[in-house]
Every structure is written in C-alpha cells, then in structure tokens.
C-alpha cells in the first residue's frame, strides 16, 4: 500500500511538472504574440498598408515593403516550386536505392541545414557579383528560392511516400506506364500535401531576413519596382532597420510594432490556409 501511494505521488508530481512546463511554453508564445498585437494592432489600418513611408520612416505606411515581399515570394516560388517538385518526383519515383539517390538526398539534407546567412553570402558572391545582377529582385528571389528548395523537395518526397503501394500497383496492372501513373494517380493524390508544403515554405520565405540583406533589400526606397533588376524594400528587413538602426528609433517604434503585426499575420494566415487546404483536399480525394 505504502509503495503504491509513493508511486502515485511521484506520478502526479511528474505529470504536473510537465503540465506546468508545457503551459509555460504556451504562455511564452501567447505573450510574444499578445504583446506585439496589443501594441501594434492600433497602427495597422488601411493607410498603413497602402501608403509610402514618410518622415524618415516614422510616419506613413509600409506599402513598398509589402509589395517587395510579394515580389520576392513570387520570384522565389517560380524558381523553387517547379524545380523542387520535379526533383522530388525524380528522386522518389525514378531512383531506387542507387548511389545517385543517396547522393542527392545527402545534398538536399545538407542544403536544408545550411544557415540562412550562408545563403546570403552565396547569393551575394554568385548572383550579385559574379553574374552581375546587382542588388535586385532577381538575385534576392534566386537566393530565397535556393533556401526554399530543400523544403519543397522534402515535402514532395514525403507526400509521394505516404501514398499506399496498392494505388500504384493498380495503375500498373491496368497497363499504365510509369509516367501515366505519376500524372493520373500519385501526383493528384500527393497534391494536398505538396501544396501545404508550398504554403508553409512561402511563410518561411516571407520572414527571412539574412539572405536578402546583401542581395536585394533596400533601406528606404519609397517607390515601386519596375523591373526584376530593381532593389526593393522587404517587410522583415524593414522591421530590422527601423527597430535597430533608424535615426529616430523611438519615433518609429509604432511603425515597428505595426510591421511585426503584419509579418505575424502573414504567417498566421498562411498556416490557416495550409491547414484548410490539407483538410479540404484530403476529404475530396477520400470521398471520390
């Protein structure tokens, strides 16, 4: 009886510790989000997202930074999505346990682990200096695209892996070729997960600062880009400069809170969309 009691006590002590620590994790997250939202939500209004910054970035809006970030997202995804999905398909469907597969997988997992600042260094050395793109949307998009590439490849591979073998075999049994099987059976089934991965990698790309520091980001540029060889402002870099190195940090604090809110909202909305798509598309394929 005595030991039974001891056991129960130690269990409840342990479990309560876990419960409290995990609540602390939640508390930290919500206090970060809550703090920034409470301070910043008052700043965010229609003018804030559609006006140019004014008065040394202490007034006005963040319109060019939003447009810049959108340019970088679309540029990097135009590069990373097709190449990433195609590589993923090739690696999973065409290379069976060969040395080539192991090699490519080693390379992608290494690429995934490379710190973002190293992408920045590489992007600057290759795209900005060697290829002569200068600080431009092109150079920044390619750098960010490289960063997103391993994520897209990984997601595609995982999505294809998750499909039951019987579907492939059924297609082959009906006389489908490998490519037909991929196009008609596996790819449509894997699509919800691939799209989810794409959206989450958009979230990552939109918040990255280090790779764009030396490849595209402009400190202050109150006009919109006209070609892919223009510099742009970008939301994360904008937040960085107005919170650390602006001439009047205290006056631009409100702008900083507002920018942080917009950045968090982008990530939040992308997360929600990704989850909805995952749910919606997987339901659709189940009922069919």
């Amino acid at each position: 009886m005595q030991t039974d009691f001891k056991k129960r006590i130690s269990q409840s002590i342990a479990f309560w510790t876990f419960r409290i620590l995990s609540l602390i994790v939640m508390g930290v997250l919500f206090s970060i989000l809550g703090f920034i939202f409470v301070k910043g939500i008052g700043v965010v209004n229609w003018d804030f997202i559609t006006q140019m910054p004014e008065d040394g970035m202490t007034k006005g809006g963040i319109y060019p930074a939003i447009i810049g970030t959108l340019c970088l997202i679309s540029g990097s995804m135009l590069f990373a999505f097709p190449i990433g999905v195609m590589s993923g398909i090739y690696i999973y469907e065409y290379t069976k346990d060969s040395w080539y597969r192991k090699f490519v997988q080693l390379m992608t997992s290494n690429l995934a682990g490379v710190p973002s600042i190293v992408f920045g260094l590489f992007g600057m050395a290759l795209f900005v200096n060697k290829l002569g793109f200068g600080d431009s949307i092109l150079a920044g998009s390619l750098t960010l695209g490289l960063l997103a590439l391993p994520v897209v490849i990984r997601t595609t591979e995982e999505a294809l892996k998750a499909i039951d073998k019987s579907y492939r075999e059924a297609s082959y049994a009906l006389g489908g070729t490998k490519l037909q099987t991929i196009r008609r059976v596996t790819l449509p089934m894997a699509l919800p997960n691939i799209i989810t991965g794409l959206i989450l990698s958009i979230g990552r790309v939109s918040g990255e600062t280090a790779p764009i520091l030396f490849t595209v980001a402009a400190y202050f540029l109150p006009k919109l880009p006209t070609s892919i060889f223009d510099q742009v402002m970008a939301l994360p870099y904008h937040l960085y400069v107005i919170s650390t190195s602006g001439t009047n940090i205290n006056e631009s604090r409100g702008m900083a809170y507002g920018t942080a809110v917009v950045l968090i909202l982008i990530v939040l909305i992308l997360n929600i969309i990704a989850n909805l798509i995952r749910r919606f598309l997987s339901k659709k394929y189940k009922t069919n």
């Binding site: 056991k7 090739y90 390379m107 260094l121 918040g207 520091l213 960085y240």
Partner: protein, 419 residues
C-alpha cells in the same frame, strides 16, 4: 492490282499509325523524364556550387598579407628580427610591445616611424621640392637606427634600399582559428582571429539548449503521453506557428522586452548580452526540440508500453523506464538539431547580443556570434578585400559546423532505424 495496292497502303498506314503515336509518346515521356532528372541535378549542382564558392573565397584569405594597402614594414639591417606576425605588428604599433627583446630581438627599445613623423626628422628643404629625396633619406635614417620600425607605402621605398623589408606572415589557418582578436579594419595590420566569435556562438547556443531542452522535453512528453487528444489538438498547431514566426520578430520582441528586463534585473549598463541571445534562441529552438522529441516518443512500440503497464508499473514509471530509454537517440537528435538551429540563427542574435567581438567571459556581457558578424560586416567590407574574404572564411566555418551536425543527426537516426 490497284485494289491490292490500296489495301497494302491501308495496311501499311494501319501498321505505322500506332507505331507513330507510340514514338511521339515515347519522345514526350523521355523529355519529361529528362526534365525531372535535370531539376534534381540542378539541386545537387547548387549545393556543390555553394561549397565551391564559399571555400574558394574563404580559403583565399590565407593568401593575403595582413598589412593594409600597399604598405611595407622596413627595419635596419642591424636588427636581428627579419619577420613579424600580424599580432606582433599590432602590439608594436599599439605600443604594447616596446622592446625588441620581447619578440626575440636584441635588448633595444622600439622606435616607431610612420610617414606622419617625417617632419620630426627632416626639414622640407632636405626632402626636396617634390619629395624626390624622401626615399633615400628615409632609407638611411632607418638603416642608422637599429631600434626603428618604419611603415610606409611601397612607392616611398628607395630603389637601392640598404635597409631590409620585414617579411610579414600571411594570415595563417592557425592564427585565423585561434587568434583572439577580431579587428578586420585595424591599421596598420588587420587582426583576423575568430576564436572570440566561435566561442561566442557556441556559448550562446549551448546555454540556449540547456534552457530549452528540459522545457521542450517536458512539453513533448506531455503532448505525446499525458495530454488527452483534445489538448493535443490545441498544442500541435500552436507549436507549428511558433516555428513559423520570422526570426526578426523574435529579435524585435527580445530587443523591446527581454533586453530592458535583463538590464533592470542584473543592474547592467547595457541589456544587450549573451543571456538575452540565449533566451531568445531557447524560445526559437523549442519547436524543433518538441517536434523531434515527440516523434521519437511516439515511435515507442505499443507492445512495450503495454507490457510495462501489465507488470503493474504506473504510467510515469513506464515513461521513464521504457519510453524515454527507448527514444533516447531521438531525444539526443532533437538536442543536436536544436543546437544546429541556434548556431545558424542570425537576425535575432544580431539584434539582442550587443555584438562586441571580444572573448566572452560571462553571459552578462555583450558578445558576438559568427552569423551576426557576417550580417553586420559584409555590407561594409569592400568586395574581394581581405575583410570580405575573412567573412567568407567565417561562412565556411559555419557551413562545416552545420554539416557536421547534419551528418551526426543522420547517423543517430540511422542507428535508431536499425534497432
């Protein structure tokens, strides 16, 4: 006859029609397969290209002389010293080293001479109206003073100089990795010792993991083993969100909230310290640690848990005697991955650690990490200069550390699959 020919024609067309189609189909198939292969090759080439570029630029720092510009250091032939390292030069010109004896020469005090000291030794007439006698005068002055060390531009060096040019060591891998001073723009000789940056990086990252690991482990156990499915359904997306928040937002939060808090609590002159960096990195490493650990815990076979429960063990005993030992390798993988994330993190650390490139002594002082150094200095370093190359050298170090961590984690998870 005609009928037969027409029949033959039709038969021929019928014969080649499917063939024709299948040839086209085959070509299309091959093209698509070729495209698929091409894109995976691009990915592979990119990684190789990154490695090539980083190391080509980074290693070229070892071919550089630490002297800035076209300068030479000139000594008298009576001086036994023939060659100097960059740290010697810095100490001499900072007047820390004032006697040649200290660096292996004769017992003679060191006399500094730069082009600004010219007027102390010569009048304008002596140097000639266009300074045409300058090289020759300087040469004989240096030769006459065994204790003198002179630094000036190569163009002022007399063609038939009697004094000797000191040979200056190029930046060596040893002085790069173990040097304790990082002054990439110092004059007359740059100091490129990255030890303070490496130690700063490791220091902050390891402290961050020491904070994050227990909390992350507890949360993962709670989610995987204790919480009911409804609570789990709340936790999972929230942790996903925590992982998605941009690092610059964490940095901003750290700057606004944690930095002033630390300054107040510890009564410091500045709040931007290693501790602030460690706390922010701990928060950022939490999602990685929680997700990886939870996956590992979930992989424990149900039968093992049930066997333990059937023997009369409580749930808690089952967790710490069966589940945790079984997933130990997964948990260590989580810790290592977390360190990897922390080491590579740039913006948040740049914003809260104060960025002083000094040897770290305590967590309550500003310090500086490798990624933060690259981010802060690359913009000011002229392309292809020694400073630029040194920053690529830092990139190489960072790349090697993270690659090592990747391989380590992969090895751990392979071992786990074998079990």
């Amino acid at each position: 006859m005609q009928i037969k020919a027409a029949f033959d024609d039709a038969a021929f067309i019928n014969l080649i029609k499917p063939l024709h189609l299948s040839v086209i189909k085959k070509i299309i198939n091959k093209t698509i397969e070729g495209l698929l292969m091409l894109s995976s090759t691009i990915t592979t080439l990119t990684v190789l290209l990154i490695v090539l570029f980083l190391f080509k630029e980074g290693l070229s720092v070892f071919k550089e002389s630490p002297l800035e510009g076209e300068n030479v250091i000139v000594l008298s032939n009576q001086n036994k010293i023939t060659h100097l390292s960059s740290i010697d030069i810095k100490k001499i010109f900072d007047q820390e080293t004032t006697n040649w004896k200290l660096i292996g020469g004769a017992n003679d005090s060191i006399l500094l001479f730069t082009i600004n000291d010219l007027s102390n030794y010569f009048s304008e007439e002596e140097l000639g109206p266009n300074f045409e006698f300058l090289p020759q005068k300087m040469d004989s002055l240096i030769e006459a003073n065994p204790g003198m060390i002179a630094i000036f531009s190569k163009k002022y060096l007399d063609k038939n100089h009697k004094s000797k040019i000191a040979s200056i060591d190029n930046i060596s891998p040893k002085s790069f990795l173990l040097g304790k001073e990082w002054f990439p723009t110092a004059s007359p000789a740059v100091q490129l010792g990255v030890l303070p940056l490496i130690l700063g990086t490791l220091y902050v990252s390891i402290v961050a993991i020491l904070i994050a690991l227990p909390i992350g482990l507890a949360t993962a156990i709670y989610i995987a083993e204790v919480a009911n499915p409804r609570i789990r359904a709340i936790y999972k997306p929230v942790i996903e969100l925590l992982a998605g928040i941009p690092s610059v937002v964490y940095g901003f939060f750290g700057l606004i909230v944690i930095v002033p808090l630390i300054q107040k609590i510890f009564d410091l002159p500045v709040g931007e310290t290693g501790l602030a960096g460690a706390i922010i990195l701990a928060i950022m490493a939490l999602p990685t640690i929680i997700t990886v650990t939870e996956d590992a815990l979930r992989n424990t076979p149900r039968s093992m848990k049930e066997a333990s429960l059937a023997l009369g063990a409580t749930q808690w005993q089952t967790i710490y005697k069966v589940v945790i030992p079984y997933s130990a390798s997964g948990i260590s993988a989580a810790a290592i991955l977390g360190i990897g994330r922390a080491i590579g993190e740039t913006m948040a650390v740049l914003m809260v650690t104060g960025n002083a490139a000094v040897m770290p002594h305590s967590l309550l002082e500003p310090l500086r990490t490798i990624p933060a150094t690259i981010a802060a200095e690359l913009g000011e370093a002229p392309a292809n200069g020694i400073h630029y190359k040194a920053l690529f050298g830092l990139g190489c170090i960072l790349f090697i550390i993270t690659m090592f961590i990747n391989i380590w984690v992969e090895a751990i998870s392979k071992k786990r699959i074998k079990h």
